[in-house]
């Protein structure tokens, strides 16, 4: 029995964790960003990106499969020695931590412009921090439970996107590949932030109870995200005209503005408020990855102190910087680049290194 079995997660939780870490705030602006580069063929970009992600995740799992009980830090320490391993893990921890922070800041900006215009930014982040801290300070099992519960509770939300579809026009999607393949490929870089998230495999893999389904679970989780994105992109493209969609910052939210019921108007506000639950999944999983690894570096079993410090730091940094939309977009771009490295380059390099490492070892012993 491995040392992480105590906190084991089921296959379903594993699938949902992967899916949850991917779906965050990126989705609101994704259709616009895709339309800017790839026009109405943007949905094909989503499909293409999915294939690439599946490959990347597969390579990650190829490496991890060899060390089923190792988290990222264990693995790096094993491969590069104790100190170098810790040093190498540091940028990744910073990556996870800042990813969590940027998701929180993004959500804060949404909340601020939709609901609490005059409330100071740090206060909104503080509000996020309270429930998040209660979840993050516990083991991965509790986080998985939270994320699973929220996932099932919010499953109905995309269905509401179907209501305005009736006013749309499927002709907007035609013709396919109107400008050829080039714009479709160019759009790929825009999907990095939206798809980023499955790198948490490095941390959660050792907790998975049934390791033989790791790859299946990953594929299902990733496909779930694909379906989600594909659905929303196509709905937006159908509803908005190809020229009109690029003039909106968050087409998804503007789309929801059109939904009115006899008993409820301005559905986008309700949606966004409840969507906070969905986004909280994403930041919670990133932050817990960061905090868990930090605790591992310091060889602490209990990471509740680190999560407390993290949230205090998050609130303080928002208080100091008071981020604006433009800043947050800059950070998102920067993180997309980092995510590109972590998601696609790092696993390949690691895999090659591990193969070499193993061969060397075998040569020594044999």
């Amino acid at each position: 029995m491995s040392k992480y079995a105590m906190n084991g997660i089921t296959l379903m939780q594993y699938i949902i964790l992967i899916h949850a870490s991917q779906v965050g705030t990126g989705i609101f602006s994704l259709p616009r960003q895709l339309a800017e580069t790839s026009g109405t063929d943007g949905w094909m970009t989503v499909l293409l990106a999915w294939i690439i992600n599946c490959l990347a995740g597969w390579i990650m799992l190829l490496t991890l499969r060899k060390y089923p009980d190792f988290t990222l830090l264990d693995l790096l320490s094993h491969l590069f020695g104790k100190w170098l391993g810790k040093l190498l893990a540091l940028p990744l921890i910073i990556y996870f931590a800042s990813f969590g922070l940027v998701i929180m800041v993004n959500s804060m900006l949404y909340i601020k412009s939709w609901f609490l215009t005059k409330t100071p930014a740090y206060l909104v982040v503080l509000l996020f921090a309270i429930p998040s801290y209660l979840v993050v300070r516990n083991g991965l099992r509790v986080q998985a439970r939270y994320i699973e519960l929220v996932f099932y509770m919010t499953m109905w939300m995309p269905l509401f996107m179907l209501i305005p579809v009736g006013e749309g026009n499927t002709l907007f999607l035609l013709p396919f590949l109107k400008e050829g393949w080039l714009p479709v490929l160019q759009g790929l870089q825009k999907t990095v932030f939206a798809y980023a998230g499955f790198e948490i495999l490095f941390i959660i893999y050792p907790f998975l109870q049934k390791k033989k389904y790791a790859i299946h679970g990953f594929l299902i989780g990733n496909t779930l995200t694909l379906l989600y994105y594909l659905f929303i992109t196509i709905v937006c493209f159908i509803f908005y005209t190809p020229d009109g969609i690029t003039t909106l910052n968050q087409p998804v939210l503007s789309l929801l503005k059109n939904i009115e019921f006899r008993f409820l108007e301005r559905f986008d506000m309700i949606f966004l408020a409840i969507y906070l639950l969905v986004v909280s999944k994403a930041w919670i999983i990133y932050i817990s990855c960061a905090v868990f690894s930090t605790a591992q570096i310091f060889k602490k079993q209990d990471h509740s102190i680190f999560s407390g410090i993290y949230f205090l730091f998050a609130v303080a940094s928002v208080y100091v910087m008071n981020p604006t939309w433009n800043q947050s977009e800059e950070w998102t771009k920067l993180l997309s680049k980092a995510a590109f490295g972590v998601m696609y380059m790092f696993p390949v390099v690691l895999y090659i290194y591990v193969r070499g490492f193993e061969m060397l070892r075998r040569g020594k012993t044999g």
């Binding site: 409330t119 503080l126 509000l127 309270i130 907007f172 013709p175 009109g244 503005k257 059109n258």
Partner: protein, 369 residues
């Protein structure tokens, strides 16, 4: 220690929270917004918002003020209104005809699209006359004007007397090069009337108006066959009555299917619009054995319908606009040819070959023979 921190934290929340609080009674909702131009081409904004006080005799606050932009006009309103003006519930934006005749008036609506707190489902209405005349109209036999006006437009839209264009629809039409916008048109004389639909050009300028019957045809051509379509035609083959219109007959549709085919032949776009209607006779003032002569009547309806539609299309082509949205078809099916003419689609459509064919089936004649 942790608890102490927690207590401190909640204290901060209490003292710093509730900055965005605005109680419902401190809010003055602009339900109607009017935009006009005076003789010297200065913008005049007008607002109507409800008053909730029981002591107030009139339940509506109306203020008309000259201002540079809509946002500035809100400040003007706050000078006199009881509560703070907000725009979260705009029901209709009334635009005077004189404003609409100028290109680029759409820019005035910008604040409504930018602030996320504003709703974008407000109806856009062109007023034949001054918008502030409508806004300051206080009908005695009707509920509050905003409620009355929206109800009027919505029900008229169900009968397809006029179009219903929300801010979102207008926005979509303006950003799309393959379609031009159309909005509801109303008029105030002694009371309010919905007069039909106003067709706008590529940059929002007013082109010409459609009567209710024409509006129905436009709806059909747009593939928008929701609601009720009822027509009253005159049969040319029947003897004309002396006082009573003995040649008239009416029918409503029970199902319409429209197909538009796009083609590009000899440097010209070609559109074939096929309309199939199932109609139910609702009125017939002359004698006709429908069991035997249904075909004849069907043909008559087809001819009349085609004639009217052709007339409408001709009107549209001469105005160089495209309210039908044929440009969307052109882009979807003939992208190569559409791309170069994208910017001047109106002119291209004027030269295009648009054919209409109508097929009518009488599905029912009611309970009298």
């Amino acid at each position: 220690m942790k608890k102490l921190l927690f207590a401190l934290l909640s204290l901060t929340l209490f003292t710093t929270g509730c900055m965005d609080k605005m109680n419902i009674e401190d809010v003055s909702l602009s339900l109607l917004i009017g935009i006009d131009l005076d003789e010297n081409n200065n913008l005049i904004f007008s607002t109507s918002s409800p008053v909730f006080s029981q002591e107030a005799k009139i339940k509506e606050e109306v203020y008309i003020s000259p201002a540079i932009t809509m946002r500035e006009s809100r400040e003007e309103d706050d000078k006199t209104f009881m509560a703070l003006t907000v725009g979260g519930k705009v029901q209709a934006i009334l635009v005077g005809k004189r404003v609409m005749q100028h290109k680029g008036w759409l820019k005035l609506l910008e604040p409504l699209l930018r602030d996320p707190k504003n709703s974008i489902t407000g109806r856009i209405v062109m007023v034949d006359g001054n918008a502030y005349d409508v806004i300051s109209y206080l009908p005695k036999d009707k509920p509050r004007l905003p409620l009355y006006l929206t109800k009027l437009i919505d029900t008229a839209h169900l009968r397809n007397i006029c179009t219903k264009t929300t801010l979102q629809d207008l926005r979509r039409a303006t950003y799309e090069s393959g379609i031009t916008a159309n909005v509801t048109e109303i008029k105030k004389e002694k009371r309010l009337f919905v007069t039909g639909t106003a067709l706008l050009g590529e940059e929002g300028e007013y082109k010409f108006s459609l009567a209710p019957t024409e509006n129905k045809l436009l709806r059909i051509l747009q593939h928008d066959t929701k609601g009720e379509f009822s027509f009253t035609f005159k049969n040319p083959n029947q003897p004309v009555g002396e006082i009573f219109p003995a040649t008239a007959y009416s029918f409503s549709t029970s199902g319409i299917s429209v197909k538009t085919k796009t083609d590009y032949v000899s440097d010209k776009f070609k559109f074939d619009i096929n309309v199939q209607m199932r109609v139910v006779l609702t009125e017939r003032l002359f004698k006709l054995d429908i069991r035997k002569e249904a075909k004849k009547l069907e043909q008559e309806i087809e001819q009349e319908m085609t004639k009217r539609m052709k007339k409408l299309i001709h009107k549209i082509q001469t105005a160089k606009i495209d309210p039908i949205g044929l440009g969307i078809y052109a882009r979807a099916y003939e992208y190569e040819h559409w791309k170069p003419v994208k910017e001047r689609w109106g002119e291209t459509l004027a030269k295009a070959d648009v054919k209409v064919s109508v097929k009518v089936i009488i599905a029912g004649m009611g309970i009298s023979k």
